[in-house]
Symmetry: D2
Subunit: 473 residues, 4 copies
């Protein structure tokens, strides 16, 4: 916990309730982004958009989905950063292009965006947002190919980095995934209509059947004629590099991601963790709900009873007012409260999914001890996070990553635990059933990036940026 | 689940952050009422109030707690019924009385309210709300006792039914509980200031020490001089009758209620349930989060492994838009999604806390079977609910209570389970450590009411009612 | 200008669009109060209310008038004081009484309210608002008369001061006016339905025919049986004392008030002013729109051409943001801008209706001179205001009334005019066609109050007051 | 009245309260556009924007001008069309260009926009809004000139039609006006800072000194080094064609436009009208406030007394709820009410500024007759409007222009007047002091357009259009 994923995408094609199903899909993908939400639909003649800051439930309240006419739609959710943010940057983007009107929504991060922007601006391109995917629209519009799929292949062949994207054109829907397959993207079907989603949990909600993943490097175009599939042109063979953090934290436990059940992978991580870092204790508890699956695995493997040591307040609003200095630290306590009668006099194994800054963990450990626990053995079902992600996850700066700056022993003392254990990189990967080493990107733990990220640093601060006031709903 | 508690109360006296701590207290008590929230404070000269429809997080957004000046405050949350409701009825109430300015907030239901109102109106009293507690202000103002505590004793001696109340006067705070002690009410302390709360979880959040319960029939008056305690005058000895439903469903698992840990009582209910209604199954799961504690107890007692069979969407807003007929039933699915990989091919014990109408249970059972479970054995950690509550819980009409109209076998077939077991009344009560039979009210299960409820039916429909438009925040 | 009237009332009986016509009526009476607005309707069974802070256009936006069911309704607008005010105090009030359910809205001020409140509280009455008219409900409910009209007569005979009120009961509507007839109140008819309004302009808007004034001391009760009229019982003969300030400033120029056209009275005041205080000048201009009628009269009488010297910005919102110190004084300028080409090199007579603090006049004079006028001759079409009103107008404290503290010569120097003339009391009264001296209250100019106001000062500060947070819409 | 102007622009450079002064400027220009408002500022490093649907008073409520940091700012107001409109289209626009970051706001309409868009799209340009001024940014970004002023001159030389525009760059402000000078644009100064505004009334409000007009075809660039001025390159000499409708209706009467006082021009139009179309009547009245100036001129010339025959309700909100069929037509009546005592038994000359559809005039005439007037002589201080405007005014379709479809006699009968007279084109132009015939565009009256508008019809419906939901504030 503590990381921020930046996006979830969803697409619906050929259903009379396209925008409503898209809204439901975004509802299921809300955990992937809470800053803003947007849907663009097409009714055969016109495009319609609803895009606002805020949660899906707020952005689409009242009768706004009725505004979104038509049988095809794409949608997007994005992570929350600060109160005032840029409404121009809410996806899906939309533009008139030389290939017709196109709307696009993507999850991920392009690593060569800036050098492409620089080139495009030199030849007069106007950039009106600071979203990477605007580059895609420019490249597409300038492509000399008159055939749309040729132009699209050429475009996606030029961009590098992570992207799982959906595009809505006049009478077709595109889904595409970068050649490493960093971010998930799946295809579903219901009532003879097709759906594309970041995660399978959205297909479950709308009652759609899971068909398959969009493959790394695959482009599909869905139209009334059916689905055509082709591959992003590439000069070399590229090894998949699925983001292991989708299993560790991002994806919902009820989703199937990269061919595995997220819940079962996490439970197995808990088992591995118990083997790697056993503890003498009376009970195993999780930090709800992020540590639930791994804690259950740890308990099963270790034989120590699983208990509910903390309870979650379901009514924590987004706008918790910070009390004055003398009565602060309530923002952590208001969310989770220890159950004293469970913890009193007990040696407790506490399982959480990951450790970022360590400050929240410190407060949790402290609250558990205050509630009467005699020992706290903190177990983290992933390795220490030490490196930034350049493939679409908004990691804190390195100096804020506790594991990049302290040893495990130092972290243990910082959070106030009696012992501390992290799962190994190897143990983490082996917890997936598809655990061949080459399949996952674990750069945030290992520092080994699967692609060249040299250009990343060249991004000029302030380029193209405007601070547009927006109120959250 | 499915029942509606109507209220939570909180009071703070003698703290410079009184209203902010009151706000935090209400945050913790939000599960007891989501329709409206209000706080009244007193700064030695003036009273201040913020009262609105909506959740605590919304009602007090911005800088509204700063508006509530002073070192004493009382607050209230009330259950949500419909979109437009009566803003006049939001508690705390406030009035100028012959005993000075008084604000009052209460949890519970007076059973002789109407006969008192009738008498009072005959002698010219004006009723400007439809809240029972307005009766208390009228009686207090008309009391011939010039001493406030005498007048208060006389007043509370005249009213019958359930009440756990807080009152804020000019420089003092009152807490009182009816003679049966139906609803919980506790006293806490922090920084030499006193706090009163419906549940201990609110004391935990603000870091206050739990002192003791306000006793059934006790009145305390807190002022700068300290606390005085006295008893509501009574002609006969009255047996306590704590609402067992506070343990079954209402109170938060991390609270201590009527001397017991709610979580541990629920876990014990699960154990008892396993003994009374064992099942042959592969896994035990709960309907999260209401069934969590009991499911854990059931698993421990039965030896069947505890699993997470459903995952909860934390982002379900309050304003879920119902899709059209053709794509409905999403409101249940959007909240909880089964984990297919866990359920596939399994015989599953599903534990929930209570069964009211049966319609939600039916959908949950159906979803679990669709996700691949081969058998569903539904276990309810409380007895069948068959009778209305007259002590402050908003039960559905009897014709909507499935157990008042169907046998257990019929209910089993209705919900589509392979077997169904309810905990016995005796087993339920024995799950508390203070399980002497006379101590609890279980009228909603047994129909045996601990006081005379004959007058209840005399309430004239429409009396004093005005439909005042109010928007929820 | 600068005074604040406090209220406008409207009532509709027996029309299927009662609440919508009431809304339109309040729209026309908006100048009498901009703080809050409310309507209560009755549909034969239930009462419905919409009451909020803000302008009529905002309070009743959306479909709120549809919420107000039934064929009878009363409404009220009140003046704006500060941003946060007491939502409890928004009229119409409503209560269950011993005479049935009653809603009341009134314009005016009771001069013996406090002594009545004191008496009532001694015998146990609860006051839940700080509005004078709550006293009326208490007296009515306690009246020993079983007949409603007897009880109402008794009640209104006990109260003193100014009131033009409407009441809505179960199936009847009441209109009544105090014995002096301070505030206006008229009766109208349309489609066999009756309407009551503070001013005739509201009857014009809804297309109702003006029937007559409610007479001073008259009570009428409108029901399906028709109208009954009777008189407030009184021990002595009371001389009418119509508020002359309704003609000077409050009422709309298109209304007929106390038997006279407001516009024509104002125009005549301008003529008188020209006779009493002639000026050598090139043009006559008004401060729009308050001085328009009198300026036209002044121009006609004097033969000096009428010109438009200032233009009004129609889009000044209610929430003008004050700029920083260095760029302030815009709030006056944003509303009215001088027309330089008209004023340049001219000697100008500037006519306004009244002078309260003198600060706004000072700014206007200064702006006119800056725009190029060579001389400004300020003419006020009413006498100097020197005394507070106790009959329902919210006057500033005496120390803020410039004419109570400075001579006319001093005021002239303060505002920076080349000459200054006020209309005489006699000239003002003679400007009405019904100008027998005894007919008008001019206490704010003369200090001669038509009734005993000794008790006024006895009101205890803070009694019954609660500061309830309310956001303006 | 009835026409819609589309825009007002304002710019501030080098003032520490730049955005606040810009806000005040827009406040003064609110009559030029009520749909949306926006300001973009620059603080030396970053750009800041606030852009929303709604009135200036609402868009910038709270502390939003504080968000707009920096000493230079440009702002824009736009006319209201429908409830839901395109938030993407709110000006100022903003983009990263090859010439740096640029923000732009313009008033007017480009007549060759579509052919330019077509050309630009062919070479890959993306159009993300449907605003003409986006074309300007594209042309600027693609200009091969490396010098900004050369690039700007080249760009503005390529576009045709009407534009008065402001641009904000990194450390400079641009103001430019098309070669015909259709729309007004003036330069002002205050505290060593420069300001640009559509009308002089905005300079008056902020206390800035009027310097001069931006000349037709002039470009100025304001920076810390001072002002440079140059001319849009042109192959031929272009005759000025100032929009005469600015004098007739659009501009505020207190503004100086095209070298004339708007009020004095309108008054002279009233005099001319009296000469061209005299009437036998008792009084002259205006439709307030649009007809005020001309009515005064008519009265002076004719010797018939000027009277106030209608009064305006200052509190008409933007969201007037239409009553049901049986009680409709209130939207006209709620705004203006006739004064019966003035009109009764009188022969009345009614003066208004223009006649578009005739439906409002019909209702006004009818209301004046109902109020008791014996004759109504309608006089319009402009000629019959018969042709659409292509230079930035949103005229109704020709089939809705009453004068394009009926003779004057037919219109007279339609509106129910006893006589009707329109000012002649010649009389209208002669009412200006700068009345050389070639100086004004009167195409909406004469059909003689000063430039080629053939391309106008080529605009492809739906091109680039997206319907983006936006709530008005």
């Amino acid at each position: 916990m503590g990381f921020k994923d930046e996006c979830g995408v969803f697409g619906a094609f050929g259903h009379k309730n396209a925008s409503h199903l898209c809204y439901l899909g975004l509802y299921s993908l809300q955990h992937r982004g809470q800053e803003s939400a947007g849907i663009v639909s097409f009714d055969g003649t016109d495009f319609y958009a609803v895009k606002e800051m805020g949660l899906v439930s707020k952005v689409f309240d009242g009768e706004k989905t009725e505004y979104l006419k038509g049988e095809s739609a794409i949608g997007h959710v994005r992570y929350s950063t600060t109160g005032a943010s840029n409404i121009n940057n809410i996806q899906p983007l939309y533009s008139q292009t030389s290939k017709g009107r196109i709307s696009i929504a993507h999850n991920g991060n392009l690593t060569n965006a800036f050098s492409l922007i620089e080139e495009l601006e030199k030849i007069g391109a106007l950039f009106q947002t600071t979203i990477d995917s605007e580059v895609i629209l420019h490249l597409l519009s300038r492509s000399s190919h008159s055939d749309f799929s040729d132009a699209l292949g050429e475009t996606l062949g030029k961009i590098e980095g992570a992207f799982s994207l959906v595009m809505l054109g006049e009478n077709f829907l595109v889904a595409a995934r970068d050649r490493h397959g960093f971010r998930p993207l799946v295809l579903g079907k219901k009532d003879n209509s097709y759906f594309v989603s970041s995660e399978t949990c959205a297909l479950d909600l709308i009652g759609a059947e899971y068909i398959r993943e969009i493959e790394p490097g695959e482009i599909i175009i869905i139209s009334k004629e059916g689905i055509i599939s082709f591959t992003i042109p590439s000069e070399s063979v590229i090894q998949p590099a699925h983001c292991i953090f989708e299993h560790v934290y991002f994806s919902r436990p009820d989703s199937q991601v990269f061919g595995d059940s997220v819940h079962l992978v996490r439970k197995e991580m808990g088992r591995q963790l118990s083997i790697e870092h056993p503890a003498e204790a009376d009970i195993v508890m999780s930090i709800p709900d992020s540590g639930n699956s791994a804690a259950l695995g740890f308990a099963e493997q270790s034989g120590i009873p699983f208990e509910i040591g903390m309870t979650r307040n379901h009514y924590v609003g987004r706008t918790f007012i910070q009390p004055e200095q003398s009565i602060r630290d309530f923002s952590v306590k208001v969310k989770l409260n220890p159950i004293k009668h469970v913890l009193k006099g007990k040696r407790v194994v506490v399982v959480d999914d990951s450790l970022v800054r360590g400050t929240t963990a410190k407060r949790r450990v402290s609250a558990i001890l205050e509630a009467g626990a005699t020992e706290v053995h903190l177990r983290i079902s992933s390795p220490p996070i030490q490196f930034p992600c350049h493939m679409g996850i908004d990691t804190p700066d390195r100096d804020q990553l506790i594991a990049a700056n302290k040893t495990t022993a130092e972290i243990m003392r910082f959070v106030g635990a009696n012992s501390l254990g992290f799962l190994s990189i190897d143990g983490m990967k082996r917890s997936t059933t598809a655990h061949k080493k080459s399949n996952y990107c674990s750069a945030c733990f290992s520092g080994k990036y699967p692609l060249d990220i040299k250009n990343k640093g060249k991004y000029i601060k302030g380029h193209g940026k405007i601070n547009l006031y927006a109120e959250k709903r």
